[in-house]
Symmetry: C2
Subunit: 203 residues, 2 copies
DNA sequence: CGTCACATACTCGGATCCGACTAATTGGAT
DNA sequence: ATCCAATTAGTCGGATCCGAGTATGTGACG
């Protein structure tokens, strides 16, 4: 009857923003980008308007005023509802409390690493390591600069910190894998055949 | 004109499977689940048939025969094309070579950790740590069992290995964060206000 | 004072995703 | 023999996602 509660992470961002002050969608997008939060949420205009509509249907936010400045498209300003505030907190709590199953593209690729030749695989992994290194270095520089200059307290840099740690972890694993390939610790099949191995599944 | 090349990771799995032998969609789903690859790819029937159709449109695979056993729905068996084999390898190479931007749900949640109270945040993080520990332990057990028993060579357990390392890394970070909260190394704002901080963006 | 580029603000329609459903078949228990 | 449950195989339609497009306003520059 209600089309299901919003599930898109961008909806979380919208709610978070409206908790600060009422805003119209375009301003939300701009603000998120200014704060670099488009690194945490995929913010595309199309989805944003959908998400806002969906939040309004669910009664988590409500339209305040529709002001037109000049002849431009009218801006509709939204604010959170009491319900919205509660649901935001509950949602946030659950997102943190219980790890969601994710399907990163890299995992899907690793699953078929054997289908690449041994050398091509090594090359591709090496290039990935280079990219990851660069990303990590850049993230580290930005982080240091922001925190040292006191532009934002650490609490608001946590997502960057987490991202950095995950990149570092991936880099470590990839580096180790390359070494294992080089030193013959990872046997490669002749053909690309993959055995059926039926790994343990949770009943 | 061609509706764009397939981007859904499940399409990679389909191609990978067809490289072994021709198959009909239902068998693909079954096989992927048997191998535990549903941990790497989100395999839902609806998407699967869409993906297969899309691969056929792109001419990466082609229908072989449409056999009906009894009065059941006819099974259409697909095989990869030469084109499909090449594209698979190229796609795989790129997936490994260049890290894709991902938007894990946890990152979106961390961005608003400040909006939870200090104590609720600590509680939620602690519960997450518990879950992650359990996941890691179970993954380790499965991994050891499969590798030790020689049911599959390490090459085909890489995705599990990677998943485990990432869980461990997240666990480490979360544990550290909890400690930082406990020992006052992470200052909490009075209100939930979030400053505009404009972190460094890549031009 | 015309116009070219950019910013503002939102709409639209196609592509994709996926849960719920259909429908026949096999295999035990009763 | 019969009936329920599980398995086999695939369809369907609604929800979501998002890039490209629309249309106006503003400022700079010659």
């Amino acid at each position: 009857m209600d089309g299901g509660r919003p599930a898109n992470p961008l909806a979380l961002a919208v709610l978070g923003l409206l908790l600060e002050r009422p805003m119209h969608p375009h301003a939300m997008a701009t603000t998120l980008r200014e704060r670099g939060l488009d690194q945490a949420f995929k913010v595309t205009t199309g989805s944003l308007y959908d998400v806002v509509r969906s939040l309004e249907r669910a009664n988590w936010i409500s339209a305040q005023e529709t002001a037109r400045v000049g002849g431009r498209p009218a801006r509709t300003v939204y604010a959170h509802t009491a319900r919205g505030r509660d649901e935001f907190v509950a949602w946030l709590d659950e997102l943190i409390r219980v790890p969601a199953k994710e399907y990163p593209k890299f995992i899907s690729a690793i699953s078929y690493l054997g289908a690449l030749g041994r050398q091509p695989a090594r090359d591709a992994l090496t290039e990935r390591a280079r990219c990851l290194s660069a990303q990590a270095e850049q993230a580290r520089a930005v982080w240091r600069e922001v925190v040292d200059s006191g532009r934002a307290p650490r609490l608001f840099m946590l997502e960057a910190e987490y991202g950095l740690r995950m990149i570092e972890a991936e880099l470590t694993w990839v580096g180790q894998l390359i070494a294992d390939i080089d030193e013959g610790r990872l046997s490669w099949p002749a053909a690309g055949a993959r055995p059926a191995h039926d790994s343990g599944r949770t009943a």
